[in-house]
Amino acid sequence: MSANITNPPLKTAAPAAARTRVVRDATCTFCGCVCDDMHLTVDDETHKIVKAENACVLGRAWFKEHGIEDRPFALIDGREAGTEEAIEAAAQILAEARFPIIYGLSDTTCEAQREAVAIADMIGGNIDTTTSVCHGPSGMAFQGVGESTATLGEIRNRADLLVFWGGNPAESHPRLFTRYAVTAKGMYVPNGKKDRTVVLVDVRRTPSAAVADIFIQVKPRRDFEVLWALRALVKGADVDPDIEQVTGVALATLQDLAARMKACRFGALMFGMGLTMTRGRHFNSGALLALASDLNRYTHFIAKPVRGHGNVTGADNVMSWQTGFPFGVNLSRGYPRFNPGEFTTVDLLARGDVDAAMIIAADPGANFPQSAIDHLRRIPVVVLDPKLSHTSRHAKVAITTATYGISVGGTVYRMDDVPLTLRPALPSPYPSDETVLKAIRQRVKELLGGGRVPAPAHAGVAA
């Protein structure tokens, strides 16, 4: 049965009048800040966003560089094809696979993510998101330690001590400093930066150090030791001065930070992948979460991972509400199982376990280890992406989709788990990820005869 998606002409005629218009309070989906105060000036003749008021340097590039209407609707084995034909090819690959994986999902809407989970469930496959190579270790730590949390609005209005650890928001999330923390003026910090103390902890002095009152430089791979020493100091235990030899941080510096943390009114630890991508991984995140938890005996303290992609937090939420787990989920037994290291994408690819992949809005071909990329090139791969990527270049089926936030509406989650509604500014000739995934889901269902593969484990059990 046809997916019933008809591709329009790629170049549409511009309206005769009203060459430019302004879309107010649109949402930028470049990073996890998901700033929803963009005022976009749209030129309907050139089909471009010519101005993005309130955007940071990354947001301006995100909107300005949007202009991809000359890409083919799809490629099958490198041959140009329509979306419908590509959907059929994608569905065939997924229905025939014995152990398929669906991966990516952090740069698309929650509505599309939901469809992807449904497909994974139907085909008894594996589903994982870019969280596994981002704050996946923090996700594991949340389960083990718990999370003292807050919205960015609470941080803006209340935090008088901000500790950024293992991240460089000045370059990765520029408006985190100006809109939500550091310079932002809030209800209980009316003078903005003057009412706050800002600490940066990192292994190198990044541009983020410019806003910090205190910069603490840690030796590489010694974050855990520093965090554990702080836990001890907060609890009043003695710490050996030799800690400086191990970590590069003087005991007096740690004592000062511990005292500031206990004395503040509202403290926030905001941490990046400097903790999760290095030795210690989830133990590092867990130590930081435990420190925040400890501090709540003395004051109000929260910990928040600074999330990268625009809807990676939505991916965690959708996966959690659909399967019970945030990433790395296997559905081959007919029920969800979560096991990082076993059901996470790098592992499945590097071990050569999976025999087909559907990659949505991600580029593992550029950012995975070579052993994983090598396997990705051995198996049939379906890619949904607005742009040509290292992954789509080698895909068997590459489907061009419209860009979320710019041309597609829907829901995304800010890094603090606050859902926001998108306000797209430009129409696109390409279908959304959600539309394509719905059609793939429908076609896979037909190919499987309406059932799921394999049948749920309990179906074969005698009563």
Binding site: V133, H282, T344, Q370, R393
Partner: protein
């Protein structure tokens, strides 16, 4: 003669902006193939800005251009490169049961490339 150093992969402003133009674009390729090094380390190794260096990890090898950073910003023995296909080529596939391959603080050997 190669030296042992520690490589940090990460984001940068120019990596983020060039990403929007496309990972196959010239700017992204340029940004993600530039290695930041401590200037004193560079001087000791006879390197100057834009010289080519070979970086080897346990699993891969890349050749990139180097660019000096002041010692106060990048301590001796540390290297920084923006995320991209080249930084990924140095990552191993073992995640130690976590799903996360090590992509920061990698042990590497660095030497001038002919």
């Amino acid at each position: 003669m190669s030296e042992s150093m520690i490589l940090i992969g990460g984001r940068s402003s120019s990596q983020g902006t060039s990403l929007c133009a496309g990972k196959l674009g010239a700017e992204y390729i340029d940004v993600s193939s530039t290695l930041e090094m401590n200037v004193e380390d560079m001087a000791r190794m006879g390197l100057k800005d834009n010289d080519r260096v070979r970086v080897r990890s346990a699993v891969g090898e890349i050749v990139v251009r180097c660019k000096g950073r002041a010692a106060k910003d990048l301590p001796s023995g540390l290297l920084f490169i923006a995320y991209g296909p080249l930084s990924s080529a140095l990552m191993g596939g073992d995640t130690a049961g976590s799903g996360m391959p090590l992509s920061k603080n990698l042990d590497v050997k660095v030497e001038p490339a002919a």
